[in-house]
Amino acid sequence: MIPDHLTILVVIIPMLGAYTTLLAGWVKRRFCFPIAMVTICIQFCISLMLLYQVMKTGPLHYNLGNWLPPWGIEYVIDPLNGFVLVVLLFLSLLCCMYSRRCIVDEIEEKKIVGFYTVFLLLIAGVCGIAVTGDLFNLYVFLEISSLAAYALVASGREKKAIFASFNYLIMGSVSACFILIGIGYLYIATGTLNMADLARLLPPLYGSTIIQCAFIFFIVGLSIKTALFPLHLWLPDAYSYAPSAVSALIATVMSKVGVYALIRILFTVFTPAFIIMEIPVMELFCWIAAIAIIVGSVLAITQTDLKRMLAYSSVSQMGYIILAIGIANSAAMTGGILYILSDAVMKGCLFMVAGAFIYSTGFRTIEDLKGISRTMPLTAVAFFIATASMIGLPPTVGFMSKWFIALGALESGQWFFVVIILAGSLLTAIYSWRVIEYMYFRDPDMAHQAAVAGANDPPASMLIPILVLASACILCGIFVTIPLEVIEPSVTRLLGGT
């Protein structure tokens, strides 16, 4: 009985968990963390079972309320969803584990109940986006997760976080409006909201202005959500002023689900035939992505605050995924989807390390971290591995994904973008090497000697997620065939006709 309903349970369980957390926190505050942890653990197991089922028997379809698809809401899981769902829940699990000790300093005690409630709501929203096969349902879950993210960003003690969250709220709402208008136009033109049904009904309408308008609204809306350059302005503040556990969560889970939604709408709803033949949008994507890679890295080089540097580096990393989408051949798409995994793993690790430095020493700026590797060796090593992956050194997963994207660019004859990928790696090396040099090869400043000498690796509940992610950077690179087994069928499905 239960195996048939896993698709819906992955969304229902965090919702129920969120409200149980709220009630339990009312009885005793320390019940919140275990409930949240158990909820996400169950979900992670479910996502693994779903992926296994999808790989074995093909896409799973689930009709809510037993209404048949074009009328009712349908949840569909194909290899792409299954893969993204596993990545998202893996990261959520580690972020939740990390948050327990990390938020003690950063969040007022009475807000902890609310923190875990909203945390689970965000995960419910994100999972909803990942499993749904209905366009309007996607919008609803996008709003749930975004509203939860605004609240989480503002939850810390940092005063600037409130302004950052407000900024994020305004930009997020604009993007949600755009997406909603896009959905509305599609509904006017076709009378359906089901993605598969839309893909079937759209081809005869490709020439119509209303569909093209809808398409542009979707692109702009989702570009804001994924912080694609030059619409990334909300991102640096939101990532750098949020509590560290939240930075790690939204930098991985929220941004990756935005990319997933973009891929899903571009390739499943509008189909490659439309985006490649009808509107020359892919070329545009490539160029914007190229600018994002370079400008994001250059801006990261100019930062002095570690979390802020990582935030700008997120803008540049996002460029790689968009570049892969823009090139849109099978090698590049493989690289792009693998990049969802690799960026989640390495950015999660880096933000957690930045949070660990703040936890142990209170230092936020890069210059203060001189000589920190002597007292926090494991954290420093994790940082080194994750940056190596971000630069794209073999055998890390970052190298594999960049390799595939570069391969795709070469196959389609766009050698210029290969140069961009290499230049981006070089710039990444510049800004991350600066941090590594300070950590390993400099002596601490006089003023900070006591703090650096007194620092320790963070407690186990923070250290384990950091080390798991750091080793994942290497393991996913060496055993890259395992994720590729899932990614290849999903790429074939996405590129379908072409």
Binding site: M1, H5, I8, I12, M15, L16, Y19, L22, L23, W26, Y62, N63, L64, G65, N66
Partner: protein, 141 residues
């Protein structure tokens, strides 16, 4: 303003009607115009009216912050509970007609949809009131 007899009397008169109308809107959600959300908002407006006319402490006595938390969770449990109940009886999530009641399929669907609407109504009422409390408290400081 608290001393104003006209406002307080009118408020006292109108609140029961607002609440009855809210219940009407919630109950007719599945079969007619209205629904859980609209009804919940109307119900919350009666508490907001009490808060405006009699002061916040008076409204808090009638429905406290804790009661709001409890009610908002109850409503959601009601919703999700019906959904899970359908799974237990072998349907899909929210597949109302699978719940074995001695009624025909359409009537079961209608009844279950009403319960879900009531759940939505309770949650919306509690959350709207609690938002009003939060905004009003900030004003005091």
């Amino acid at each position: 303003m608290k001393q104003d007899v006209v406002i307080r009397t009118v408020c006292r008169l109108i609140v029961p009607f607002i609440q009855i109308f809210a219940l009407y809107v919630i109950i007719h959600g599945a079969s007619g115009a209205g629904g859980g959300f609209q009804g919940g908002v109307i119900f919350a407006s009666s508490f907001i009216l009490i808060g405006i006319a009699f002061g916040l402490s008076d409204a808090r006595q009638r429905i406290s912050e804790k009661a709001n938390t409890l009610l908002s969770c109850t409503g959601l449990y009601l919703y999700a509970g019906i959904g899970v109940l359908c799974i237990v009886f072998g349907g899909n999530f929210l597949g109302y007609s699978f719940i074995p009641l001695p009624l025909d399929s359409a009537a079961t669907r209608g009844l279950m949809a009403e319960i879900v609407e009531i759940g939505i109504g309770i949650t919306v009422m509690a959350v709207m009131t609690s938002i009003f409390y939060d905004i009003a408290v900030k004003e005091d400081m």
